[in-house]
């Protein structure tokens, strides 16, 4: 270990999510704040992509952590935290979508071609096309592709969130990709 200086400074290692849940279940409420800080941004992104409204997604984010706290004693030792909290968030989002009768009645994507726009608006329009195409997917496929592309979950974890097998999660992602490729084909030409 030439050139390496080892100091005697005590290093504080942040607990894993699962350790934080164990602390929370044991009564250490600071662990709840740690989990919120660690996951608030990706969870907000997940909720926003499922419900499509930022204000609603923020409400659901808070409610997710309320439910997490209420359920802290039910978190099983050995379970993975991320799929578990995503299940809570998704269930809340689905309840809200059902309440709004919105889940499978998404507006179709706009069909105007990119050539119709000025250069300045192209990027923003592209983002809007992607948003609309994602919103058009059935909720389970949307959740699958969002968890794969934006959150980097593997198919076993996606299956845990969706309540299906790893293979079914893979198939839903495959179908989602197929639909998105069809709807967005005009924007997938060579750059």
């Amino acid at each position: 270990m030439d050139g390496v200086i080892v100091s005697e400074t005590r290093v504080s290692i942040a607990p894993s999510d699962e350790e934080a849940m164990a602390r929370l279940a044991a009564g250490d409420s600071s662990a709840l704040g740690l989990l919120f800080d660690r996951h608030k941004v990706p969870l907000l992104g997940f909720l926003w992509r499922i419900v499509g409204e930022r204000a609603l997604a923020e409400d659901l984010l808070g409610e997710t952590f309320v439910r997490l706290y209420d359920s802290r004693a039910r978190f099983r030792r050995g379970a993975s935290f991320l799929p578990w909290v995503l299940v809570i968030a998704r269930n809340l989002a689905l309840a809200e979508l059902r309440r709004r009768r919105w889940s499978r009645r998404q507006p179709p994507p706009e069909t105007a071609s990119p050539e119709d726009w000025g250069a300045a608006g192209v990027r923003e329009e592209l983002r809007e096309q992607v948003r609309l195409a994602l919103a058009r997917l059935p909720e389970d496929q949307r959740t699958a592709i969002v968890l794969k592309e934006y959150h980097g979950l593997n198919y076993r974890e996606i299956g845990l969130v969706l309540g299906c097998s790893e293979e079914a999660a893979r198939a839903r992602t495959y179908r989602a990709r197929g639909s998105l490729r069809g709807w967005l084909k005009d924007y997938m030409r060579d750059e």
Binding site: G33, F36, D37, E63, F65, R127, L134, K148, M188
Partner: protein
Amino acid sequence: MNDPCEKVRPQLQALADGELTPGAVASAEAHLSQCPACRREAEDLARLSALLAEHPAPGAVLPAGAVVAAQIVQRSRVRRGLRWAPVGILATAVLAAAFRPAAPPVLAPVSPAEPAFLLVLDDERTGRAVLLMPPESRP
């Protein structure tokens, strides 16, 4: 399955996801170098990922975890207190009745100004505690 495309096509998603073994990757890439149609398919998957990356979540200023945790814990304490309040009232009444000295029962009507009891419900959507009075006690 003699058509090599039929073998490779189902693997393209796994290739894009980085799930193939090194041997399978080498085999798939060897085919892609020879097959424009499958290569186009693989490139489309990569372009789709790039396109989705053009769709970041909106930024947000969110409160600090310590603040949120304190609010949630406080709220939970209040809710727990409300939930057990009727039980406490009932238990107090039972104990009071059990230890009350023997006396002739007094049959007095309950004052209509005071509700006989409260129902404490938990609103499933908002998570808020809801207090309900029986209809006869409402003004």
